[in-house]
Symmetry: D2
């Protein structure tokens, strides 16, 4: 079975989260990218994108990575744990997260995630690492 495409992932995920601004932007061998257009609700005092918003995009990127590496859109894959570190203020209109594979096993997938904004991938606003559990 081939890796699902960006279009297939978004078509299957969107109906499940009708209000979610997260979307899959790219998938490839051992990685996936999530994107979120900032609407304004996610902003803290000072115009900074909130920490939980960055977490949500990192978590979405890991989810898409799971689909990429197990080669199917498994909606019931669930985060089992995730840790995040915030690196610099996040300002911008678009938030990105790229998850790369650390390991895929029968029971779970582990990956590392970099989060950034319009300022560019070289100025990450957060870095994260976590585990998704696969349904039995």
């Amino acid at each position: 079975m081939p890796r699902p495409s960006v279009e297939e992932i978004n078509a299957l995920v969107r109906p499940q989260f009708p209000g979610s601004p997260n979307e899959c932007a790219e998938v490839g061998e051992g990685y996936a990218v999530a994107r979120r257009v900032i609407t304004g609700e996610e902003l803290r005092p000072g115009g900074y994108i909130s920490g939980p918003t960055q977490f949500a995009v990192a978590d979405a990127a890991l989810w898409y990575l799971v689909f990429a590496v197990i080669e199917r859109v498994e909606l019931m894959a669930l985060t089992s744990e995730l840790s995040i570190r915030y690196l610099r203020p996040a300002i911008g209109e678009t938030l990105w997260a790229r998850a790369t594979l650390d390991k895929v096993g029968r029971r779970n997938v582990v990956g590392t995630v970099r989060v950034w904004t319009d300022d560019g991938v070289d100025k990450p606003t957060a870095t994260a690492q976590g585990t998704y559990a696969l349904p039995a």
Copy 2:
């Protein structure tokens, strides 16, 4: 300076996050409790409260804990890192998070957070631990 009350915390935080459903429910010696009424947007397939929603409430509880232990509502206190583990499906109309103090220093505050729903605090849906940085 005395510890800010629940009312003071909510009165200062709300205008900064007009759309946020998180609110402070309780503060005391070395702890704080956050509450969030679930509106439906936070639900995953199957009616489960999403992981990022639970993270957001845990993060809010830690923020209120910072206010409680430094004895002022410091809006510019920022999460520097937070790790979360999901323990069981989260189903219910209200989500709670209680943060307890591990350490308060000049530069940061560390705490442990338990998250639960209407099923009760004895059935936690997530457990977390993290650090807030205080402004210089």
Copy 3:
């Protein structure tokens, strides 16, 4: 099957780690305590107990907690993930760690750990949280 005692845990664990200075000091309902007498090898410049030594004791406490809650000494229970935060310099002749249960499931055990020295449990030197996987 009853909870294994401190003596049973140490008798089964010691032969597997002949050189290890970690030992079980206490087990009870939903918690376990590890102890390590500092020999000097674990010290950093300044006489501080090193971070990895504190991690090792926290990890041992979680392992003993697993034995306590699954009610058998399961040597093949393995850490799947663990995060630690260091809170203050660790100085002293004995290092302690107390792990408390967040959740026991069929496949894993999650717990929170506090680490301290002779200065007392009220001055924790580290706080941690993690997951042990149980063999299938």
Copy 4:
């Protein structure tokens, strides 16, 4: 000031940790590699390198990374937090850890670490992420 060399790092670190089997193996632009020859004390039942041993090497790699990016051997740089995930059994005579830079600031350094054995870097046994605090 130039980046310290592997020889300079080991010459300054070794006297501080006379018994430690960790050593710096490589440093470069934004990364550092630690190596540890396994002596046998670090083995769990079954001949697996223990989790705390892998943590210790990951922590050492992050420490060397700090030296590389702040361009001096700062012995008083201290881990403030570190999270680790174990990926597969670690078997072998040498343990390696490579830390890559996520961010260097005035107060701290954040990095991501991959750990592996003789089986090769493509079969990581652990992945970690953490923060070192720099002295004021």
